[in-house]
């Protein structure tokens, strides 16, 4: 066997990029949930570069009735929002969220990771268990890491499903986030006079029990 290794190599060579683009198109088209680049790579032939194929694909669908959108670290195909009016037939009536649930969701999204105490501090009322449960059940919110403060409270963060539902690439794209941050409205400002053990701890402890001590 003195054959050169060339024909053998081609067995493992990645398909041309145009073909990879078709593959990514088919995979994204077929799945309702966003697909990560890693998932794409796992399903495509060895050596494929789905990230590059995505660049081409995204361009191809620019301005079409269907778009290639980024959701977190994953990709999906969605109909163009301006054509929603054609789709009444497909509209699924989503459960009406209560005002408390919507506010809690917004607070988690803009302040994440957020503890229950922080949500309560911002809203000025206790957060009922059911409100957070509903958001958890809808898979718009999930548990984040525990805060490393006394009591190690759980935190909440928004999910990829949340991003997907609201057509957001990442939580950084939340409307008005920059302005809120610039205005200092996302800072956790402890009540003046509360002992700031450390910045982080103060954040948790500037709760209402101290506020309303007298």
């Amino acid at each position: 066997m003195t054959e050169t290794s060339a024909p053998e190599k081609s067995l493992f060579e990645a398909p041309p990029i145009a073909e990879q683009e078709r593959m990514v198109e088919a995979i994204l088209f077929a799945s309702t949930d966003p697909v990560t680049v890693a998932d794409l790579a796992a399903r495509m032939p060895h050596g494929s570069d789905p990230a590059e194929a995505l660049v081409y694909l995204r361009k191809r669908y620019e301005g079409r009735g269907v778009r290639v959108v980024k959701v977190g670290d994953a990709w999906a195909m969605r109909t163009a929002p301006d054509l929603g009016f054609l789709m009444q037939k497909e509209t699924v009536e989503t459960r009406k969220l209560s005002r408390a649930a919507i506010e809690t969701l917004a607070i988690i999204a803009y302040h994440q990771p957020a503890t229950r105490a922080e949500i309560e501090e911002i809203r000025g009322v206790a957060v009922s268990r059911g409100t957070v449960d509903q958001l958890l059940e809808m898979e718009w919110v999930r548990f984040g890491r525990r805060r490393m403060t006394p009591g190690r409270p759980v935190t909440y963060v928004v999910t990829q499903q949340f991003l997907d539902h609201f057509g957001l690439e990442s939580a950084r794209d939340l409307p008005g986030l920059k302005e809120l941050r610039a205005a200092g409205l996302l800072d956790s400002r402890p009540l003046p006079g509360t002992v700031s053990l450390s910045d982080e701890e103060a954040e948790d402890q500037a709760g209402q029990s101290e506020l309303f001590e007298d």
Binding site: S31, T32, R78, P81, R99, Y110, G124, F166, L185, P192
Partner: protein
């Protein structure tokens, strides 16, 4: 100037009561004291950053007083807020006490204003979020999701331990019998080493290696070959251990050994 007539006085109190009742009825609609404060602050019709916290505190306190007059039960946190605002009000009105180390009234007022502004900002953000294009309402996913077919591929595995245990299991069966495959004609290096260790003490001078071949292993060629190889290997091992010396006059010449003097 003119004293209000009884009629007027009555009318005022009725309208006041109606206004108070309207507020009280709405208490259920408020999401807590902060929400109520935010609603009250709207009557000032100014930017939240320029709000008069003192006036707001007075509005809130009068609201709570009215509720008390009407003997309406207010939730505890509304009363706690009232107490705190009363405290804040006194701080804002009284000249600062140099002995007091606590935060100034202005600082507390600023914090309350911040809280109100933050709550307002979150409400606006929530509204903007809900106004976004939403999945299933404004944009849609593939109508016919294609299920990814799961192709199950089974691979079998075993660990070295499994392998050794299996072998041990076989070899320790009740019907165990020593297994020897073509071993009748094999003289092992271990056997040769044992034999030579016993004999080496007597090998004072150079002796042909062939002398050390065991009895009964020299006639049959196969047995002789095995014994020779084992004995040679054993002699190398002993030489390595420094117990004997080896000598060979030329290629293929007989190999001789002798005990190494220590």
């Amino acid at each position: 100037m003119a004293e209000p007539t009884a009629f007027e006085e009555d009318r005022t109190s009725v309208s006041e009561r109606l206004a108070a009742e309207a507020l009280i009825v709405d208490v259920d609609g408020f999401e807590g004291p902060l929400d109520l404060l935010l609603t009250l602050s709207r009557t000032q019709k100014v930017d939240l950053r320029k709000i008069s916290v003192l006036r707001l505190a007075e509005q809130y306190l009068s609201f709570v007083d009215k509720a008390k007059v009407l003997r309406l039960e207010l939730a505890a946190d509304y009363l706690v807020m009232a107490a705190w605002l009363a405290f804040l009000k006194s701080r804002l009105l009284l000249p600062p006490d140099p002995e007091d180390e606590g935060p100034s009234g202005e600082e507390l007022a600023a914090h309350l204003a911040f809280q109100l502004e933050r709550l307002q900002a979150m409400r606006e953000s929530a509204a903007r979020l809900m106004a976004r294009d939403q999945k299933g309402r404004d944009f849609f996913v593939r109508g016919v999701p294609e299920d990814v077919m799961r192709v199950r591929k089974v691979t079998y595995t075993a660990t070295l331990l499994d392998l050794m245990q299996a072998y041990a299991r076989i070899r320790t069966r009740d019907e165990f019998r020593p297994y020897a495959m073509d071993r009748h004609h094999v003289f092992t290096m271990e056997q040769a080493l044992d034999r030579m260790r016993g004999l080496i003490g007597y090998a004072g001078d150079w002796t042909d290696l062939a002398v050390y071949l065991p009895e009964g292993w020299t006639a049959d060629p196969a047995r002789r070959r095995s014994a020779t190889a084992a004995t040679f290997a054993a002699s190398l091992e002993l030489a390595k251990q420094g117990q004997i010396e080896l000598r060979q006059a030329e290629t293929f010449a007989p190999i001789a050994i002798r005990r190494k003097e220590t």
